[in-house]
């Protein structure tokens, strides 16, 4: 595409590069001058944190957005920014994270969606006050998670859509305050009964998995009333559930509350049916690209 332009393009690239550095510097300088607490560096074509001059000395900032850049790594010194409450690295090229990230004592919202993460660092679940964690669209599965991942009891929203989970660990039941849980378009084959114990759950995204059964415990959730949403589409449900789903989600919930369904569920569990095949084609996911 750009092959024919030769030397001119080189100069062009340099100019662009200069332009980019100037833009970043301007944002940082402005922030220093005004003492802003929120820094927006989205879409700045940043490849490395080093391109952001003195960012790790700006310990007063509470918000940092680096969405739509090309960051591959995060330096351990991210922990210098101990006032951060909001950190957004949506759509970068992150393949790994420093374990120091979970030491940020005030971080409430962490957006790491649309990266290339296939593993999380040890101790990642050590966040003190994290409320919203978005890890959608990465290459994560249950084996990628550190031991303490499910001990983040302050979480109210956990997004794990577009990953590679095949099971949801029963430790998910530790997230007692969770209001939003999303496993949209993974390869999940079963839902742990523990989800039925979530008292405050109001969104449960389970579309596009390999689910056949719903634990009857989910009937305890108040999902049918106003503002409670459960999404079940595009799963190979057993026929009775699929039939109810045709009519509506509330019919599914009513159905799984019946003794009849309880009997079906226990029987199916005893038979130990083989998991349905994976159907989601993930080859085109940009998280699969390698540098």
């Amino acid at each position: 595409m750009s092959g024919g332009k030769g030397g001119a393009c080189n100069g062009c690239a340099n100019l662009l590069d200069f332009n980019k550095t100037a833009k970043i510097r301007k944002v940082i300088d402005d922030a220093r001058e005004k003492g802003s607490t929120e820094i927006d560096l989205k879409e700045k074509n940043i490849h490395r944190f080093e391109e952001i001059p003195g960012i790790f000395n700006m310990e007063w900032i509470t918000g940092l957005s680096l969405a739509h850049n090309n960051l591959k790594t995060v330096p351990a010194s991210i922990s210098n920014l101990y006032n951060l409450e909001y950190l957004n690295m949506y759509n970068n090229h992150l393949e790994e994270l420093p374990s120091t990230i979970s030491t940020l004592p005030k971080l409430k919202i962490l957006i790491l969606a649309m990266n290339r993460l296939s593993v999380l660092p040890r101790g990642f679940g050590g966040f003190a006050v994290l409320e919203v964690l978005d890890l959608s669209y990465n290459n994560l599965n249950e084996a990628s998670l550190p031991n303490n991942f499910w001990s983040m009891t302050t979480l109210r929203a956990l997004y794990l859509s577009d990953n590679d989970f095949e099971t949801i660990p029963s430790e998910v039941g530790n997230l007692t305050d969770i209001q939003i849980l999303s496993f949209r378009e993974n390869d999940v084959v079963s839902i742990p009964r523990e989800i039925g114990s979530f008292g405050r759950l109001r969104e449960l995204h389970l579309q596009g998995n390999r689910l056949t059964l719903i634990p009857p415990e989910l009937g305890q959730l108040d999902l049918v009333t106003q503002r409670c949403i459960i999404r079940l589409e595009n799963n190979p449900w057993i026929q009775p559930i699929a039939d109810q789903l045709e009519v509506g989600v509330s019919h599914v919930i009513d159905f799984i509350r019946t003794d009849q369904y309880r009997y079906i569920y226990e029987k199916q569990l005893q038979q130990g049916t083989t998991a349905p095949p994976k159907t989601n084609d993930k080859s085109k996911k940009i998280s699969r690209r390698t540098s």
Binding site: S65, Y90, R202
Partner: protein, 423 residues
């Protein structure tokens, strides 16, 4: 005597032995006249309690024992105040008799010429024979008690015959209250609840306790879960009429307006009582919660009136008590539960939303916090956005999403993703 309170009590509760004692004492004769002046010193005339004898030693002559009975009559009253006899030296009271014709009442022997002779009750004794029938010792201070012809010193008389008090365990001399299978000093026999003395007022046995009439009535009413009328002190068998925090028989009152005799459903208004009919005619607001009239502060909300304490959160049922409430679909909620139930906590900051609210995708935001979930660019009610996992995505970010994801999003929605607009 017959009309004295004691006597009355005695008839109700006296012990038979005591009765005998009393008559024994009553039968004591007056050995010498009593000194009227002494009563002035000792107080009101009271029946005798002790006898005192003083032996004197006139040569060869009989000494005169003086036995006093200080009773105002010969009756059987028992005094509370000890009366000590004093020697009476009036010669006229001495009776000189022939020595040879006298014998000792105890040993039936005669008397020597210079021997001291004790005379009492028309009988004579050697001094050494005039002793307590129980301990054979002379009477201390010459005080003795006589019973069934025998004389006892004070100590032995008490030990043998005097009852001991059920409360203080002391011997009872004088008036004895015989009740509850025990003997009592009159001042020791009290109501077990209010401690009021029961000796004169009588008592009622209640669960093995001696109670005064008032306490008994209260206990009885409490035991059957009923009230005692504050006016007549009778048990209220049907529902009491509460007035000024006390229960009454409703029939003690009449309606302030129509003068009809009241029933227990009468209502109080500003200290006056009205029958239900008259009360309802007076335009009193009715509480929307309990359906009863509101006589104090009225809360008006949701098009109804409420008692202050009945205007409560539909979720936690705590009264608002003047704090702000939130109305939704004809129900009122406290701030916490309104936001908990209807999601008006900001999705971004998780705080209660002050002021205007953006609601979309089953979520709510503070006006300043409504932004694209990807790039965090602020949005307003006119901004068109897409939905991904029930989060708003601005058009610019949506178009940056990889096409394979956009295709899946469209497939999930089955229809081309329609642009959503703020409501």
């Amino acid at each position: 005597m017959e009309s004295s309170p004691f006597h009355k009590q005695h008839q109700e509760t006296a012990h038979p032995l005591y009765e005998n004692l009393e008559s024994a004492l009553a039968n004591l004769s007056i050995e010498s006249e009593y000194d009227v002046a002494e009563y002035g010193v000792l107080g009101p005339p009271v029946p005798p309690r002790r006898n005192q004898i003083r032996a004197s030693t006139p040569n060869g002559s009989l000494s005169s024992g003086s036995l006093r009975e200080s009773g105002s009559s010969g009756g059987g009253g028992i005094p509370d105040i000890p009366v000590l006899a004093t020697p009476v030296n009036d010669p006229s009271s001495s009776i000189v008799m022939s020595l040879s014709s006298m014998i000792c009442h105890r040993c039936n022997e005669g008397f020597e010429p210079h021997e001291k002779i004790v005379k009492s009750h028309g009988e004579t004794w050697h001094q050494q024979c005039f002793v307590c029938a129980q301990c054979f010792k002379p009477f201390p201070d010459g005080i003795f008690y006589e019973f069934e012809g025998r004389k006892y010193c004070e100590h032995d008389f008490h030990v043998l015959y005097a009852p001991s008090c059920g409360k203080c365990n002391e011997f009872i001399i004088g008036r004895v209250i015989k009740a509850m299978n025990k003997s009592w000093h009159p001042h020791c026999f009290c109501c077990e609840i209010c401690n009021q003395c029961l000796s004169d007022s009588g008592f009622i046995k209640n669960a093995n306790r001696a109670l005064c009439h008032d306490c008994n009535a209260r206990e009885k009413a409490a035991a059957i879960g009923k009230h005692i009328c504050y006016k007549c002190h009778g048990i209220i068998d049907d529902k009491p009429l509460k007035w000024r925090n006390e229960p009454f028989h409703a029939y003690h009152f009449n309606c302030t307006t129509c003068s009809a005799e009241l029933t227990s459903d009468a209502r109080e208004l500003k200290g006056d009582l009205y029958c239900l009919r008259c009360h309802d005619k007076m335009g009193i607001p009715i509480c929307g919660a309990c359906r009863r009239p509101i006589e104090e502060r009225v809360v008006t909300a949701l098009g109804k009136h409420f008692h202050v304490e009945h205007f409560v959160c539909a979720k936690c049922e705590k009264p608002f008590m003047g704090h702000k409430h939130f109305e939704k679909k004809g129900l009122a909620y406290c701030e916490t539960h309104y936001h908990q139930l209807f999601g008006n906590l900001c999705y971004t900051c998780n705080k209660v939303i002050e002021g205007d609210v953006f609601t979309a995708l089953e979520k709510a935001w503070c006006v300043n916090h409504f932004a694209c979930s990807i790039c965090n660019d602020k949005m307003n009610q006119k901004t068109k956005f897409y939905e991904l996992d029930l989060k708003p995505v601005c058009k610019r970010c949506y178009e940056k999403l990889p096409s394979e994801l956009r295709k899946r999003i469209q497939k999930l929605h089955k229809i081309p993703p329609k642009k959503q607009q703020m409501t």
